[in-house]
Amino acid sequence: MDLQTLTYIVVGASFALYIGIAFWARAGSTGEFYAAGRGVHPIANGMATAADWMSAASFISMAGIISFSGYGASAYLMGWTGGYVLLAMLLAPYLRKFGKFTVPEFIGDRFYSSTARIVAVVCLIICSITYVIGQMKGVGVAFSRFLEVDASTGLLIGTAIVFLYAVQGGMKGITYTQIAQYCVLILAYTIPAIFISMELTGNILPQVGLFSNHVSGEPLLTKLDQIVVDLGFAEYTSFTSNPFNMFMFTMSLMIGTAGLPHVIIRFFTVPKVSDARWTAGWSLVFIAILYTTAPGVGAMARMNLMDTIQTGAVGAEDGNLLYESRPDWFKNWETTGLLKFEDKNGDGRIQYYNDKSTSFAPKAEEFGWKGNELTVDRDIMVLANPEIAKLPNWVIALVAAGGLAAALSTAAGLLMAISSAVSHDLLKGTFTPQITEKQELMWARISMAVAIVISAYLGLNPPGFAAQVVALAFGLAASSIFPALMMGIFSKRVNSKGAILGMVAGIATTLLYIFTYKGWFFIPGTAMLPNTPDNHLLGISPEAFGTVGAIINFAVAYGVSAMSAEPPKEIQDLVESIRIPKGAGAAIDH
């Protein structure tokens, strides 16, 4: 059977499964729509959280970025897992004890102010939409390859699919669907990684393979360092040139992880406070399977890519791949527009090297190379990896299904968070409390639809690779939601004024910084300064600025609170009560 038919069958079957589950578990009440009726076991919930969490950014984009940045991309690995430690200890158990449905609800009650609740809704929508834009880029990449169309068409088709089942199912549907999606995506990620690790190192586990010897006898990483340095690139394992920025970036991803509403919302769906702690642990188990595999995938994909293009000795006349004899995967990715070749020196061969390296330039000239001829969108690496490694067709088809599962599950979870914020917090909770449960559900679905359209539109011109766009969303969550939640639990002194001004100051400075370098509302061509390290404030990149935003948020909140009246007695009692697990059962509905 040819690859295309096989891919259709595998992807089609996985979709039928998701849609079937979504239909079967169709939400009947608002309780089921938002929180799956709180009847989900920690392991099941952990798996669903993992699928929710591991988006196109983790599945499709991250290993690609690791592939090209090596050590520097470790920020993603540490940041997106380390955040779970914060979540498990600083937020999840207490928010479960509080026992409401949404993050803004907690902020509104704890800071006894509907203004605080509205500010939280706005922050939540900004973070989630930014996040969904990143997903849409990933959905576009996956669908474009799978249907062999260009990336924009792929995105529009993907949008329609997300729309279909997210709007239909609600949280209950999403929880069960996500368990299925987790299984598909983790198999799709690990199977090719195991194949490739076996091929290159003889080691079945990519986690071990990465640090073992290549079949040639040399350590894999040493060999990879050599291969990339020979073509003028930076050593794969070399230390970062800006440890401060990497520190800020990792921190921003960590606290952003703990502040993202679509993840926090999952901890509302466990029956007990102790289950919230376990759920965080199980989530990280399922996430770690992918995250510890990713570094191996990145390094080995880079090695295979370099070996495919540079078939012989560097500089030898026939050392580079003839464009004429390029493999099928190369042609397929050319159709999507995400892989480009331009024969600058007219020799009919592909030269892929770092033409920005001044030390390599004399050599390139000697070889008769006129510049780098290959442009690779990093987001294609994971999907192209099994093809580059010449793995069997069923593995390639499975990876396509996995990439789609990752992108769709997260997009659905985020849309859920957006829709509950709008219908539950803004309409039911603040502006139109008289609406019926049925009307509330309808508004939840309408706001989902609107959010999908906006993010698909912005996803057509994303402000970076999928993982980078997603990183911006984390910075925004880090600067707004995380500090408010943490202070709400750990301080009895922070009052409504402090919390509101803190959130506003944190997210506003972070947004301003991001827009300065990435363009106003991410619209291309509207950036005020070029996005290069020497233009950045203290060398902090826009992706890393969330840490600064969070510090501003904390400082403003504490400062303002210290200068104004302390919260009323009943709020201080509320804080005392959420710190203690006992009595959580009683707080299920409201």
Partner: protein, 90 residues
């Protein structure tokens, strides 16, 4: 629920203090494994080689994640014991 605290204020404070202590210990380890070994201390540890690279690289791309996992389960187990000790479990 406020009642539990009012009746039992002293034990409530001791419970919270035990929790904060445990969190502090866990977060110190969290910081050392990631920001420490994986980043700030990497140049200092570059002499220790691990499979083709060095210890810092291993912590940044593998070790930190395993430590995080251990920490969360350690916290959950310890906290459940503390809940019981102070009689605040569900």
């Amino acid at each position: 629920m406020g009642g539990i605290m009012a009746e039992n204020n002293e034990s409530g404070h001791a419970y919270w203090k035990a929790n904060l202590n445990l969190i502090a210990i866990c977060l110190v380890i969290w910081f050392i494994a990631s920001f420490g070994f994986g980043l700030l201390l990497r140049p200092a540890l570059s002499g220790i080689s691990v499979g083709g690279s060095d210890l810092g690289f291993w912590f940044a791309q593998q070790g930190s994640i395993w430590v995080f996992l251990g920490l969360i389960f350690f916290y959950a187990i310890r906290m459940n014991a503390i809940d019981k000790k102070f009689g605040v479990e569900e």
